[in-house]
Symmetry: C2
Subunit: 308 residues, 2 copies
Amino acid sequence: MSILVVGSVALDRIETPFGSAERALGGAATYFAAAASLFQPVQLVGVVGDDFPTGELAFLEERGADLAGLERARGESFFWSGRYDYDMNTRTTLETRLGVFADFRPRIPPSFRQADWLFLANIDPDLQREVLDQVSAPRLVACDTMNYWIESKRESLLELLGRVDCVLLNDSEARELTGDYNLSRAARWIRERGPSIVVVKKGEHGALLFTETHTFFAPGYPLEEVFDPTGAGDAFAGGFMGWLAYTGNMDEDELCRAMIYGSATGSLVCERMGMERLREVGVEEVHERVRAFRRLTAFDSPVAPVHG
Amino acid sequence: MSILVVGSVALDRIETPFGSAERALGGAATYFAAAASLFQPVQLVGVVGDDFPTGELAFLEERGADLAGLERARGESFFWSGRYDYDMNTRTTLETRLGVFADFRPRIPPSFRQADWLFLANIDPDLQREVLDQVSAPRLVACDTMNYWIESKRESLLELLGRVDCVLLNDSEARELTGDYNLSRAARWIRERGPSIVVVKKGEHGALLFTETHTFFAPGYPLEEVFDPTGAGDAFAGGFMGWLAYTGNMDEDELCRAMIYGSATGSLVCERMGMERLREVGVEEVHERVRAFRRLTAFDSPVAPVHG
């Protein structure tokens, strides 16, 4: 029951009010894999340049990840540099150098093509669709996207939506894609175009799950120290898909639990710089965070009826 | 077990992208009373001008509210005019005319002084303290405030904090008061200055409860149509205090339920213009909304342990 992820593997330069990191391990596929591999084996497809410190990915292999789909090309690895303001919620991208990622054409190794769970991290929707052409019949296909593709590749993105089961995207992306500020209506618009499961991520304000029959909300965890939110959205997706793949179940209850597992891995990421926390965390700590989420939101129905 | 509320009773002019209202019943004490009186009798202390259509408050009396503390003074009633942007989360105050509210000095009628539950709505902290001098020994004193008082009457506000059990305030107010962006730390700062219960309201993003032993999160309800959020924060406070007063209990479980009852009344308000929805709603609809909140956030712990 492997999880196949296709997306960026990068080197990041991160500045926050509390510290900075140079050439830190980054990329959507990396954060996703780091979280998902806590639950289930991951197969990763991406590309890095010849400057990439591949040894940094050893922790993924120790968690059972298969990196046979990670190409090594001549040139520079995908590089992203960003800065967070004091509120840790406003991020400024200082520089993006695509490097070898500019010519990335995902080639899914034959041994990966039977994957039951597929996550198309945020890349060109043309490429996301090329991946779909190469896999057989996943039980669940989920994708992410970003404003850039919504603006520049709208038609391709809409075609992609017709071929996936689940979309995870940010609130601003959901609003831009649908032209509707209201997230409940925006999610319905998206569901009408294909995916039966829509997850809207709201950063520190949590995430909403919309299906035909249910709406579920997972809060952001009220951390006393947010160190670096880089990768939190991809770690959310990794925890979400990882949990579903682990249970092999996608009924309503399991989707809700998956939302909490995603929130747990997403919140853990923020506690340290870059991938540091996710790299060393164990699954028992994720369960403990899930129990903390339960304490955070659980309430009993009232015992007695009310007058009036 | 009456609930005493002291604060503004106003006439509002509201503009939203979906409609507008002129001389609509408003004011913090009014919204609070409309919500709280669904659960328990309310005693209201405030002031209106001779232009005020007192008949508009009849629905409160039908819910058992005692308006003996509502002064009628010569002059204009407190008037507030505001406009909401399309996102319904950004509010611009167009005009505030204090009218008779400028000279308001709360006089608590002798029959109100034994109230067990006291809510000091957002007014000058000097006046909030004067109210405390006039009541005997409430079981729970809660207060609201606003940025204006944080900036102009900080010392008085800090003295007030030392005399109340519970503070309800917005996230931006909590940040400004404490100088800390992080809401968990901000809440601890406030608790260290007196109140054992801190509720931070985040508008559409929900509300957080902080006590010494517990943190609880109540989400904003994902309405498909937000018509007018005016008064939602005060209706939250009314549902919160109303529920506590109804149960007569302030243990951890009941505080969490109260957060949900507050969120329920706060979300109902937004479904129509001004006080329209709160005026006609019945307590059974509030319970139904509470059950919807439960469906929105409830998840079971995982059935099986996870490998690894």
